[in-house]
Structures are given as structure tokens and as C-alpha cells.
């Protein structure tokens, strides 16, 4: 690694430029403080907006109210967030169950099976897939996937449609992370496997994949975060009925879709309750990002 930061070398010389350099250093520090504090600032703001609901309604009622009818009636409405929470968990879990193995297989294909030219094109394709906006996935799901599912099992807009579209969306994340992890497996491991007379699959299964394990795990954790926080695609294909689904073909509403649908007209406690669900998302995703980093760090240290 090249030795960066020789600012220490420059610092003592030449008074003429000292004042400019002092200004530079402090503007750099200031911008770093702004960028570093931004996530804290966002959290504080979301907590402040969520606070009235946490105080007036309380966590107990978010879990145990009879229904989600937040702007209703003289009694101040009901605030059961559980169906939305379950919707978020089910769509995310389904998408990860599909996208993790598919992503690993796609990476294995590129690294170990594809001819070099095909591999390059394939990587380019996955990168393009990663760049397609969620609203385009959602739109495509709405006009193509939902009618197809509806032919088998109406209404079509369902948990299944949400899982399939989310899978497409997070597949590039798992595939690119697995690809990078496999690429960083030391060449001599595989040469050793070849010397032992292992077949391609045995070398992958017993040598390369275990060595790439933590990189793949990091990718899966980050993909889970993306799936939890995804809004537009699930909003457009899931049907958005507030109920715990009984089957794959029932419509669901996720926490993110709930915010997007109701924020436009929500007032007071209702608005604040939406910020509570935002806070919940923020906490879950932050935990996943930090977990991914912990896995990644253990790999680099160990």
C-alpha cells in the first residue's frame, strides 16, 4: 500500500502558504463533520417526529390494537403496525431465499464456468441490472408479472409478486459481492485443489466457497438491508391490503409502502406513527450494515 498522507511532511514549511493551508484544513474538517454527522442528524429528526406517537400511542398499541385505522373516529384511531411489519419481513425473507443462491450461482458461473469473453459480458449485464431504477422494476412487475400471476390465482398483486420483483432488485447486490469474494480467493488454494485431483465442483464446494464465505455473507446482509428498505417496487406489485397474508397469493402491505401511501394526507398522531415505522426501518437497516461490517472486518483481520 502506498504511503498516503504526507501532510505531516508539508506542514512545517513555508509560512506564505500557511494561511491558505489553514483555511483548507478547516474547510476539509468542516465538510467531514457535516457528512459524518448527517446520519445522526437524520436519526434525531426522525426520532423527534416519531416521539409524539411513541408518547401518545405507545409501543403496546402499535403491537396490540385491533387494526390499522389511524385517521379514524373520535377515539383517535387504531394503530396496529404488525401486519405491515410481517409484510416487510415476508417479502424480504422470500427475496433473500431466492436471491442469495441465485447470486452465488451467477458469481460461480462468471468465475469458474463462463469463457472469459462471456464472463465479461455477464458482469456488465449484472451491473446494468443493478442500475435499473426500482420504479421501472415496479412498473414492469405491474404490467407483466401481476397479470401473469392473476391468471393462475387472482388478484395477482400479491406477496409472490413482491418477492419475485424484490429478488430481481437485490440479485445484483448478492451476485456482485459473491463475485468479488470469489475473485479474492488466493490462486494457490485452487491450484492446491487441482493438484489433489479435485473436480471443478469439489474445488468450488470444498475450497473456494468456504474461503469466500464471509464476503458472500457481507453481500447477503447488505442485500437484506436493501430489500427491507425498498419502497417503489413492492408498493406497485404487492396490492397493499393491510392484513397478514394467509398464502403467497394474498396481497400484503409493507412498512415502506405504508409510508409512501399515507404520508400525503397523514396528520398529527398518524403522521407521527409513520415516522415510527420509518425509525423502525432505520434501526433495522443500520444494524444490518454494522453487522455486515463486523463480518467483513473479522475476515480482514483473521
Amino acid at each position: 500500500m502506498p504511503a498516503h498522507r504526507p501532510f505531516t511532511i508539508w506542514s512545517e514549511s513555508y509560512r506564505l502558504s500557511r494561511r491558505v493551508d489553514w483555511l483548507l484544513l478547516w474547510s476539509l474538517r468542516l465538510s467531514a463533520i457535516v457528512s459524518g454527522a448527517l446520519v445522526l442528524f437524520i436519526t434525531i429528526f426522525v426520532v423527534a417526529e416519531a416521539w409524539p406517537a411513541l408518547r401518545n400511542i405507545g409501543v403496546w398499541r402499535f403491537l396490540n390494537d385491533a387494526s390499522w385505522y389511524p385517521s379514524g373516529g373520535a377515539d383517535g384511531g387504531t394503530f396496529n403496525l404488525v401486519p405491515m411489519f410481517v409484510g416487510t419481513l415476508l417479502t424480504t425473507a422470500g427475496a433473500i431465499l431466492l436471491a442469495a443462491p441465485l447470486g452465488v450461482l451467477a458469481a460461480i458461473f462468471r468465475q469458474a464456468y463462463a469463457p472469459p469473453g462471456v464472463g465479461r459480458v455477464y458482469r456488465w449485464l449484472i451491473e446494468l441490472l443493478a442500475g435499473i431504477p426500482s420504479v421501472v422494476y415496479g412498473f414492469w412487475g405491474l404490467v407483466v408479472l401481476v397479470p401473469m400471476i392473476a391468471r393462475f390465482e387472482p388478484p395477482g398483486a400479491s406477496l409472490l409478486a413482491g418477492i419475485l420483483i424484490l429478488t430481481l432488485m437485490i440479485l445484483p447486490t448478492t451476485a456482485l459481492a459473491s463475485d468479488a469474494a470469489l475473485e479474492s480467493v488466493p490462486r494457490r488454494y485452487v491450484e492446491g485443489a487441482a493438484a489433489l485431483g479435485l473436480g471443478r465442483w469439489a474445488a468450488l464446494h470444498c475450497v473456494a466457497l468456504p474461503a469466500a464465505g464471509s464476503g458472500i455473507a457481507t453481500g447477503v446482509l447488505l442485500a437484506t438491508g436493501r430489500a427491507l428498505g425498498e419502497t417503489m417496487a413492492v408498493l406497485m406489485v404487492c396490492g397493499n391490503v393491510v392484513a397478514v397474508p394467509a398464502s403467497l397469493f394474498d396481497p400484503v402491505r409493507t412498512l415502506t409502502a405504508n409510508i409512501a401511501l399515507e404520508m400525503a394526507y397523514a396528520l398529527e398522531d398518524h403522521r407521527s406513527a409513520l415516522f415510527v415505522s420509518g425509525l423502525l426501518l432505520l434501526l433495522m437497516v443500520s444494524a444490518l450494515v454494522l453487522a455486515a461490517e463486523a463480518v467483513d472486518r473479522r475476515q480482514t483481520v483473521g
Binding site: L38, P133, G199
Partner: protein, 296 residues
């Protein structure tokens, strides 16, 4: 230098027949999975082209939408999108550049301050876009009193693209050989001069790649804009007007406007074409950057 793994050497595992058939089975699975992924991708793209290309024309790009977007073009929406992106990048670029220079050139990798900033940027990069939307609405629209406006939307997106910009610029700076800094110091140049005359020009690929990636993330964003820049599809008079972004136009046509599908397809095609272009530029720059790494 060839550091690729010699997988081909493993192709004919010469051991038992059972491991041979396992090999064949695995190869089949891998090829099927890979083919399925690319098939879905081409299905999606060909759908967009088939249904969208017919509407595309110069007048579609510049005309105002009519009949709630079912007919007419996307002129004012392109303009609003350009404004939102200009604000997002214009605000995040100086802050991101400053942070990247501090992280790459000033703080040591072990310093607590640098580690804290980096950690919090990683978390920021993972924050769901709808949460950015909530924050933007509460802070820019309500607290700062900007209301639903292009400015509020642009500032919200600026927060979103900041981590992308910083990561890429920092990488670009790290790819600059240490000799540049030592040479500059030996000539008695100040930090400011070394930074502006030597390091930043040399780190341009990373910087530009960051801007391109940030642009791609910002133009694809929908959820963070619904409650910050709003839905109004008229030509914006100033940045304090509400303006509809391309992505929101697709969403609105698909969900709220029966019969809006045709123009939604065409708008989606425009958006995807812009993104394909920017992503190709970014990956080309990324390759140049990695090339530099190897030669340094």
C-alpha cells in the same frame, strides 16, 4: 499480470465416477441459473423497447404532457429532473470532495475521527430512500419552510448521494502515487497547491466516476422525492416550485392514470437509456482507475 484462477485445469476431475456426475450436475445448475438471470433481464429490456420505442421522438422529449400524461410529452418533467439533479450534485459535490480529501489525505486510517466518519457514511449509504423522504419532508419542507419544491427534493437527494461521491473520490485519491505528494513537498509547495495542482487532477477519474454514480442513483430515485419535490407536472418557474421527476412520472402514470401505460413505457425507456449510458461511463472510468492502481 494474470491472477485469474486456473479453473479450466479442474475441468475433468479424474477421480471417481460419482464426483464426475456431481460435476456435471453442478455445471448444469450453474448454467441454468446464469441463463435464467440473463433471460429475465432481456425480457424486461425488450418489453421496454417494444412498448416504449414507438412513442419516442423529439417532440415527446420537449412537449408538455396533456390529458394527465396519457398524451403529449415529458418536456417539463425533464426540466424538473435536471434542476433536481443539478441541486443534488451541486450541493453534495463540495462537501463530498472535502470529506474525501480529509479521509484520504489528512486523517490516518487508524484515527478515531476518520473511522467514525467512515462508519457513519456506511450507515448513511444503507438508509432506505423512504426514510430520506421522511427526513426531507420534515426538515427541508416543514422546518426550513421550503414546502414541496425542487430545492427540497434536490437537497434530500444531496444527502443520499453523498456517501457514493465520497467513497469513489477517496478511492481516486488513494490511487494517486505517493511520489506526487513527496515531489510536491520537496518543491516546497503548500498543501493547497499540492491538492489543487497535483492530487485533484490526478484523481479526476475517481471523482468523475463518483459524480456519474451519484447521478445514476439520484435520477433513479423515486421514494425520496414523493414528499419533497412533489407531483406538479407544469414547467417550474423557479427552484421553489414543485416539480415532477421522471421516476415519479412513471409511478403516477402506472398507478393513478388508467391508460397511462404507453407513456409510462416510453418514459421508463428514456430513464433506462440515460442510466445505461451513465453506468457504462462509470464502469469505463472504474476500469481506468483500477488500471492506474496496478501501474502505481
Amino acid at each position: 499480470m494474470d491472477r485469474s484462477i486456473p479453473w479450466a485445469a479442474l475441468s475433468g476431475g479424474r477421480s471417481s465416477t460419482s464426483s464426475r456426475s456431481a460435476d456435471r450436475l453442478a455445471a448444469t445448475c450453474v448454467w441454468i441459473a446464469a441463463a435464467a438471470v440473463s433471460a429475465v433481464f432481456f425480457w424486461l429490456l425488450s418489453d421496454l423497447v417494444r412498448h416504449g420505442a414507438g412513442q419516442l421522438s423529439w417532440s415527446f422529449l420537449v412537449d408538455a404532457p396533456s390529458n394527465a400524461g396519457r398524451a403529449g410529452g415529458i418536456g417539463p418533467i425533464v426540466l424538473s429532473t435536471a434542476w433536481i439533479l443539478a441541486i443534488a450534485l451541486g450541493v453534495s459535490l463540495p462537501v463530498g470532495l472535502g470529506t474525501a480529501v480529509l479521509l484520504a489525505e489528512v486523517t490516518s486510517p487508524e484515527a478515531i475521527f476518520g473511522r467514525l466518519v467512515r462508519r457513519s457514511l456506511d450507515v448513511l449509504a444503507g438508509v432506505p430512500s423512504i426514510v430520506f423522504g421522511l427526513f426531507g419532508n420534515a426538515f427541508f419542507c416543514v422546518t426550513l419552510g421550503l414546502g414541496f419544491s425542487i430545492l427540497a427534493g434536490g437537497l434530500t437527494l444531496a444527502c443520499m448521494v453523498l456517501p457514493i461521491l465520497i467513497r469513489s473520490t477517496e478511492e481516486g485519491l488513494r490511487a494517486v502515487p505517493a511520489e506526487y505528494r513527496l515531489g510536491g513537498a520537496a518543491l516546497g509547495l503548500g498543501r493547497f497547491t499540492i491538492l489543487t495542482r497535483l492530487l485533484l487532477p490526478a484523481a479526476t477519474p475517481g471523482l468523475v466516476a463518483g459524480v456519474v454514480l451519484g447521478f445514476g442513483r439520484a435520477i433513479a430515485e423515486t421514494a425520496a422525492l414523493i414528499f419533497t419535490s412533489g407531483y406538479v407536472d407544469r414547467r417550474p418557474e423557479s427552484v421553489f416550485d414543485s416539480g415532477r421527476a421522471l421516476s415519479i412520472h412513471i409511478y403516477d402514470l402506472a398507478i393513478n392514470i388508467p391508460g397511462g401505460e404507453r407513456n409510462a413505457y416510453a418514459t421508463a425507456l428514456v430513464l433506462v437509456m440515460i442510466l445505461l449510458l451513465t453506468n457504462s461511463v462509470a464502469s469505463w472510468l472504474g476500469q481506468r482507475l483500477r488500471g492506474q492502481h496496478l501501474h502505481s
